[in-house]
Structures are given as C-alpha cells and as structure tokens.
Symmetry: C2
Subunit: 153 residues, 2 copies
Amino acid sequence: MPKPVLLLEDFLPYRLSVLTNLLSSAIAGAYRERFGLSIPEWRVLAVLASSSYLSAAEVAQRTAMDKVAVSRAVRALLKTARLERRVARTDRRRSVLRLTAAGRQVHAGVAPFALAYERALLRPLARAERLALDRALDILMGRALQIGPLTKR
Amino acid sequence: MPKPVLLLEDFLPYRLSVLTNLLSSAIAGAYRERFGLSIPEWRVLAVLASSSYLSAAEVAQRTAMDKVAVSRAVRALLKTARLERRVARTDRRRSVLRLTAAGRQVHAGVAPFALAYERALLRPLARAERLALDRALDILMGRALQIGPLTKR
DNA sequence: CGCTATTAGTTACAATTGCAACTATCATAC
DNA sequence: GTATGATAGTTGCAATTGTAACTAATAGCG
C-alpha cells in the first residue's frame, strides 16, 4: 500500500484557491474598470436586484459576507447613489435598502457581462459535466460546513 | 426563450469564492494553531518538501504565489529555522532554499493532517464524482488562463 | 415599568495583501 | 571592457480585510 504523499498541485483546497484567485482578479478588474464596482459592492447590488427592501443583515446572509463588509459596500454604493437607505418603521435599528434607478441600470450593465464570463468559462464543459460540477460543489460546500473550523477539537 | 437572470447563489465564481474562503479559513486556523504556520508558509514548505534546492522564483512558480509573498514566507520560515538559504554559486542573485530537519519535521506533521482534511471533505463523493470534479477543475483552470484578464479588451 | 441581554450597524485598529520602487547581480551588445 | 537592459529578491507604502469594541435600539423578564 503506497504511503500517501502530498503534492500541492493535487491538493483540492489549493487548487480551488488558485482557480478562485484567478477568477476573482479577472472579474474584479473588469468590474472596477468598467463599472467602478468592487466585488463586495457587486454582490450587494446583485442580491438587491432580485429582492428589494432587504436589511443589511439580510444582505450579509445572502451574500456570505460579514456585516462589516456589507456596511462598507453599502456606504460606497450610497455615495455613488446606486442605493438608497431608509430606517425600518417597525425597528429603528434596521435599515431598508433598495437600488436606485441608477443602481438598477448599473446592474443591468454588469449582469449580462457576468453571465457571459461564466458561459465562456463553462464552454468547454459538456452539459453533464456542468451538472456534475454543480453537484460536487454543493456537496463540498455542505461538507465543509459540516466539518467546520478545525480549531478547538 | 427565457431571459437569463443572474442569481448570485448560482454564479460559479461566487460559489467557488465562498467555498474557497470556507476551506481556507478552516485550514488556516488549524495550521496556525497547531503548527504556527500561515498558508503561504505552508505552501513553501510543501513544495520544498518534494523538491529541495529551489530558488525563490521557482517556489513562486510552483505555488502560484507572487515573489513578494514568497519572500515574506521565506523570511518567516528562516526566522523559525525551518528553512535554510544559501546563495547560488553560479548566480549570486539566486538563493537556494532547503528545509532544515525541523522544517521536514513540521512538514511531516502537517501533511497527514492536510490529507486527512481533504479525505474528510471528499468522503461524500464517489470515485467517479471525484474524477469528474478533478477534470472539471483542470478544464476551468485552463480556460480561465486562456480567457485571461478581462481588462483592456 | 426597569433591568439585562440581544441585535443592527458603524467605527477603530491591526494584520494581510498587492503594487511600485529599489538594490544587486547577471546577460547582451557594442 | 562599458553601457543597456533584464532578472532575483527585498522593502516601503497604500489599499483591503478581519477582529473587536462601540452605539443605538429592541426584546425578554422580573
């Protein structure tokens, strides 16, 4: 029985990290250059485009960002008038976020771009391969959550 | 024909990013806590464990890190005496890196741990699914490199 | 009510990271 | 040889990011 060696280039977390960094920097560059958006801002924009009137905490949950990151992204989007914020009538701690017309317009510009990039990326994969990938990523995600932080064990 | 919408949670780069962050922080926490290693340090350690006498530039290439990150990781590993460095006889700009006994020992501690984590992660995937995932990631990686940065186009 | 605990969101500060400039060495061309 | 350009690696600085402390508001409970 062969002793398992560790080759960095075969190590799944490493491979995912390299791939993700590559994709993220390509996408981030394009968003910044063309729309003046950072990735956190883009994420906030994206969730608010499909559901309006969310609070910052709800946005945080749906974007897998922490509340500080959301706070900063919201501030930036407010400054560029792509977002408007009111306080919730029922709970004055809560904010209620909504895209402005300008925000929707930016989203309408970015979204096709993002989808085109994804399509380009997935082009060499057959339909079945894409489904397998989707499924594997879902499973890995669940599994990672289940295993959780390895500290304190 | 349905107009393509963009749902963040289905967007591949987003999903990869969330998964990668989850894995990275779990692993980084464990490495730091148990071995006092950062992820860049771990990567350097890992490549030097399988091939000794590399220069910093060669390490950078094999770890997909940039030279600044390698420089910093090397400095940290030198300080903790897990690495030793000499200058190349043939080219005095070049350094020649090699693990010390202590470095090999740390690697011998970390590697099984990393492999166990990977195994735990992949447990719910059948053999064929793992192969499909491997293959898909390879293809995506190549494709991402091919598409390249989207700026200046 | 009044007290304590929780939650929403922001701010402040520390750690990481990325980028540009810099030093030192080597390669090439004349 | 000397000048020009390229390469290896480091350092400094700015931007990003994460963590913890903080403020304001609400909820729960006696």
